[in-house]
Amino acid sequence: MVVATFLGINSFREVAQLFVNGILNGAGYGLLGAAFALILGTTGRFHFALALNYALAGFLTAVLESDAGLPLGPAIVVGLAAGVLLSVLCEGIVYRALASRAGVSTLLSVFVASLGLLIAGQNAMNLLWGSTTRSLTGLNETTVHISSVIFSSFALALLIAALVLCGGLEGILRRTGLGRQILAVRVNPLMASSVGVDVGRIFLIVFAIGGLLAGVAAIFQGLRFATTPDMGTKPIFYALVVAFFAGTHRGPLFQLATGIAIGMVEAESTIWLSAKLSSLVVFGLLLLYLSETEIRATLERARRRRRRPTATARAAAGTATLR
């Protein structure tokens, strides 16, 4: 207890509660991270507009339920379908055409185009349906108690859905012909194409799967909290963090595990930091992680320099300066 007090921990119940909150929130990050990583890792497209797929699925579902009076089930189906369709259209109509003419600058062109799509889409939703916050109300939320830890049934359902979807996708990738084709395209699209894989079709399928995963994450966001036209902006940042921490070529279950780990780190950091600053921990860790490669390279260069003869030795060796 002395140690706990020294560490600023009020009670172990608090730690356990934060631990569980982290797992449940992290499942959402992991689901979206798996979607982003699948798309970037397979197609090389920096699909920032995944935030728009997410927002469209969540917000449209809420609009259909609250404004059009549709029951939640059909509203979810339509919302998810719209998210998937938009994702496929982003690739089929915009990115593919840009990539075919952008050459080496494809990454930048696609990123900028995805920014354009996100800006246009978010504001179009605002204009069409207004910016009023809407929640999904068709299901009753219950509170689950395990010992002294409590959490919402929706959060638990999100965790289960994330495990099922990521596990299922992992199974598809490892055990089916389609999965092998996706992995082949991921490793070498040209080679995959030369052995008969339709790379364009695989890209569309990958965008569809990514749109679906993002849509499911958005539906749970709507059930647990609320939906808005710009609801995708913050989650997409977490998806990026998950995808790059895990590595964009790692499988969906690994992405999910990374998302959960990030959720736990974020949640536990609230013991010492405000909720707002806790996100700083996540992004700070990513900054360190990305910097680590450069730091290692710098140290390696310094080590190599130390191995070389000194300036005096070089002078003695007759080094000449040209021009």
Binding site: L40, V112, A120, F237, L290, G318, L322
Partner: protein, 605 residues
Amino acid sequence: MTYWIDILDQALIFSIFAVSLNLLMGVGGQVSAAHAAFGAVGGYAAGYLSQKHGVPFGACLVIGMVFATVVGFLVSLPALGLAGEYLILLTLTAQTIVLVVISSVGALGGEFGLAEIKAANIFGKDLVRPTDFLPWLAIFAALVWAACWAMGASSFGQVLRGIRDDELATQALGKNTYRYKVAAFAVTAGLAGLAGALLVYYNGIAAPGLFGFDVSMSIIVMIVLGGSGNLVGALLGTAFVIGSVGFFEKAINLNPDKASLTRLMAYGIALVVVLFLRPQGILPEGAGKALRRRLRDGRAAAPDEIAAAERADEERETAAAQAPAAAMAPAAAGGGHDGPPAALTVAQPAAPAPAPTDGRGAVLELRGLEKAFGGVRAVHDLTFSLPRGETTALIGPNGAGKTTIFNMITGVFPPDAGHVYLRGEDITGMPLHSVTGRGLARTFQDVRIFGRLSARENVALAVPASANGAGVRERVGEKAARERAMELLKFVGLERQAEVPVAVLPYGDQKLVSLARVLATGAEVVLLDEPASGIDARWLETTLGLIGELRAEGRTVCIVEHNLEVVERLASHVVFLEQGTVTAEGTMDELKSQERLVEAYFGMA
């Protein structure tokens, strides 16, 4: 009227953001999604010092710029060594972190920011109304435009363009590309800091909303819409994005909320449409130059560069038809491509270095090099030397490791074991630009030209003095570099194509530009990777003549080549490689006298 002056003031402030990011992203090819965050650093630093400590306006601007420069510098250190998608991610991360910090720290006002910033005071006059700000913002903006234009047009800007088009090739010209990128990142972050400070003073508040992620996106949109790499284009993009506020609110008469949403939606759509229809933006890089050339030459038909390339082709074909013998003669003898190559009468490369230290006349030595890629051993126990002033050819079957050896010598990737000595100095694993700076330059199998730069700019970029010094000294250096570039283009017979973007030149001419570029480094040792591949007889003869010239000047040349006629004609020393190791060495005649090699290689080559 005040409404439109307000719009104009904002456009002037945002033009500083846009023009500075254009230098980094459009000219240098480095994406930054954190430009608004650097503005926040400058803006909050200025706002805090002004509000809490009463620091004067001018000092606040300077301190804001310095803070933003330092933060930009720190962010760039890890960022600029990363691949494209990681750079985007890291700058997005930096943007997020800065915003979280400024909206969380109590001393900076948290979510609400710092209100009631003291009015900017210039020469005793408080700037309060938009009309008060207008002349001063115009002056600040004009100064930044001028500075960015000067940097873009300088040798610094040319190196940034080189990095954007082909970073490895730029390193091969002796440029420390990492330092250039860090410098560009820090300088442009500082300018964003200035814009941020002005924005804070203009609004009288430093709030997170002024510098959000959407603002960073807007600045990117300004550049992409207006024209990436084109300063006027960036200004046009700024005018479009900021001016559209007035258009939707006043011209179409939408209420401010609806106008804002419609405007954002419109420029999101416009961004995608422009990427489709004009990927380089409304005013692409070089549009001004092309227009000036068209006006000067009185041509208005096809793009002048393409016309120039076509004309050059026709002239070459005519010359070749009229004087086939001359066209086939070695350049040194006065024939060849596009007239006789000029002798290099001035600014010759440095004289060969002092006598080699090992007493065997070798200028470059490779000792015990090893390289494996995964489980594949590409080079094994490789040891040989390049005799000073001679031409050495590396030959052998495909997969023998020839290009891998060039890559190890020049630090493109370090060997797993062994050493490379240049004039006795261990250069093993040194970065490519350091190797070039020590007098060893290379070409690549694919020409790796900077397509959007002219032939002269391509070559001038490689002149070592071109990026040294500052101010007048730099301008003198640039002039000398331009003159040297023209001499070399004359030497390879391309002076008429000097101002043509290299992308539109025929492949043979592009190879000659890459040769002129490597000569411009002044290197004593030149490695040429398949100089004769992919070109026809006219360019081949010119190229061979030029390589012969290099040897005549006393330079040490090493070529990787499959064409044995070329090897026979050029090389006095031949190294035969099989499976990454030397299996025979000597003159071509000596190698051809070995029955095993004749059966295994020469007979089928």
